[in-house]
Symmetry: C2
Subunit: 257 residues, 2 copies
Amino acid sequence: AGAREQIGAVSVVVPGTVNVEEGTVVKAPNVPCLDGFRLTEALTRALNRPAILENDANAAAVGEMWQGAGRGHHSIVCVTLGTGLGGGIVLDGKLWRGADGSAAEIGHMCVDPFGGVACGCGSRGCLEVYASATAIVRMTREARPRHPESVLRTGESMTSEDVYRAGLKGDELALEVFRRMGVYLGIGLANLINILNPEMIVIGGGVVNAWELFEKHMHQQVAERAFPLPAANVKIVPAQCGDDAGLIGAAWLAINR
Amino acid sequence: AGAREQIGAVSVVVPGTVNVEEGTVVKAPNVPCLDGFRLTEALTRALNRPAILENDANAAAVGEMWQGAGRGHHSIVCVTLGTGLGGGIVLDGKLWRGADGSAAEIGHMCVDPFGGVACGCGSRGCLEVYASATAIVRMTREARPRHPESVLRTGESMTSEDVYRAGLKGDELALEVFRRMGVYLGIGLANLINILNPEMIVIGGGVVNAWELFEKHMHQQVAERAFPLPAANVKIVPAQCGDDAGLIGAAWLAINR
């Protein structure tokens, strides 16, 4: 019973749109059985403790602000480059969730409206189809015909990690793919800088390991496209909490509930 | 002296980046003599009254929220289609000015990064070069060779108002230009919906008079590109305060200082 007493609340993050006040999962495209489920009510009843619900990318932004790259900053945009591209926006120290809890869908900002690749969301040319692990693999496959000398020229089960490792060794195909990713990511960040003028942009997720391969191209687009004052002041940095960002953010949300 | 006593404060709006707390004009591209000027200090000293400084598009957003289309709403994005394209963002009833006072530069969100037209800001394909009075005139000139039958085929001093009037009469050139404007504006609004998930988007400025000519194309892009839930809930409406939006917003800022 002693150990039980120490758990004051339960905090759950979900990859999807949530209604924080009602504690309901609105829409979780990859966990559809949760759609419409009153998750905090069920957890509170089962565990006899307060339960908190949050979107995963929002929680990651809070985690990076509390214990990661964003410490000491209050206006942060957090971009998570994973299977898709997730976003979290913290303004004046508070998560901006939007009118329906669906704000910060940064991965579905359009950065190439006409020539662009089709996105799972139904639109075309979303940032996510150029800047995510999935995008890295797709762009590598597309570029193979132009690079018959590449170590990446064959292989069905290739991952974004394989492309990163090839890039570190100077493989031209891999470098082209990360250059392309950096250009699109930079266009997206320039938009966020012009719209939100944040103090800091924190970039996390597995693909951020390839920072040195895309950084230059990303910064170049920001320099060309964002307004000089906010572009000079914004810090664009890799995340520091790794896969724990969401967990740490969830803890903060429970502690400060 | 009686009338003098009734003036409690002075509120000034400036087309440029301002530091509201310091009362300083940071950068006003079209009024460069104000750059760096401590405007509120000068006004307070000269008029012996508190003075308030704000960006013009921010003040217009506040004006529309207080007395215009945004009454009763708390999370609003205001887009002003004038010579350029100005923006104001109100979140939870408060202006979001950004870390440096330069947020809401919605006109410089990139909506066509590669093929795009060069913008005065130094970037390419900014929303402003497709959705503003200046853009209407430029796009009309560009489209002339394809429309030798148009009433707009000649004339050096053509205005966006002329293009609007021709459009009302069914002129194909004018209709093509407003269709193009509506498409780009819709792409920009879809981005704002996915990033900010506002309750309402208010569109003002002189060009909004042509609402019926671009509305359909704008809504179609929003429907195709924004997430279904926030797109279904957001109200996209014309402004109601006309040219007085900034003035009304300035008054609100003085009253609620």
